[in-house]
Symmetry: C2
Subunit: 192 residues, 2 copies
């Protein structure tokens, strides 16, 4: 019991009290439930792989999206994390495939192009059949720098490079929007 509590404590956001409560719950839960939990934790590292094409999390060699013939393989959306990919999938607005970077360029932290799978993206584009690369990295400094770097690396290929729009979020009231975003929103205004 104490060993379990100590191990649970190592998880993020779980303190001693929560760990105790979880351990007590497991003590009283059915054998089936507890062994299923233990098994799924044990299998996690063994079965979760990374897609050979797009580097998304997957339990097969190629992920569900890369294997899907209904997805447009000519359109690659570049994201920095599986969570961002999940957010875009939830929006339902993208029908192409993905390329997962391993984070963003950050010279201050010693993270250069070689660390975040940009060469792999260039290789996918140079293999042909890609019409458009949509760069959907975050709109912070690292995200913008990474987008600019990717653009420079793809310049010599016959591929369209686009960036997601920045502006006022939907449902937003202007008075609560920061100045840089307002500036971008005014600059990128479009015909109505």
């Amino acid at each position: 019991m104490n060993r379990l509590i100590r191990n649970l404590c190592k998880l993020p956001g779980i303190g001693e009290k929560t760990a105790e409560r979880l351990a007590t719950y497991m003590l009283h839960a059915s054998d089936v439930e507890v062994s299923a939990l233990a098994k799924s934790i044990g299998e996690l590292k063994k079965q979760v792989n990374i897609c050979a094409t797009c580097f998304a999390l997957s339990d097969t060699r190629q992920c569900r999206i890369c294997r899907d013939p209904g997805r447009d393989a000519g359109m690659i959306c570049v994201v920095e994390s599986p969570a961002d990919m999940a957010a875009i999938e939830r929006s339902g607005a993208f029908t192409g495939v993905y390329h997962l970077l391993q984070g963003l360029l950050s010279p201050m932290d010693g993270i250069g192009p070689a660390d975040i799978r940009i060469a792999e993206l260039v290789a996918r584009v140079s293999a042909g059949n890609v019409r458009e690369v949509v760069i959907a990295t975050s709109t912070n400094i690292e995200g913008e720098a990474t987008a600019t770097y990717i653009r420079s690396q793809l310049k010599s290929f016959p591929v369209k490079t686009t960036r997601i729009a920045s502006g006022v979020p939907m449902g937003g009231e202007l008075k609560y929007v920061d100045q840089v975003t307002l500036k971008k929103a005014l600059e990128a205004r479009h015909d109505l």
Copy 2:
């Protein structure tokens, strides 16, 4: 003292305790400070007018921006409140003039076009010399509906009608952005 506390209590966000604290402060503050406060409150309703051109708050017949020859009178930014106008001014990205609506269209609350100074906007445009109307209402349902209505009213005039961009706010991480905004950001992606 009690009468002051009762009157302060009527202000939004000020309860009995805060009112008491404010009243006590005034009791001990210098005569000059207290009478300056009393005077400025007394003059508020007398001196704050509304600009005859754009309906912004102003202490003269025409507001500071409408009078400024350095501002581009051929470009009108339509906002729904003085707070939104202040936000856009802070961004420094707009050098034209404004038109302040008195809120947004909201049929459910009985607010129609006649209530929010849209006719006055059409009159300004029909007087000529306006090249572009930038509609900077909020990106919620009422804001979008108001933008569409204004567009329909201006269709017959030789004026460009634009809408501020919606998308991912600057500095934002994609995974925290709502689905509708992500969808808009992907649809409105631009060449890099």
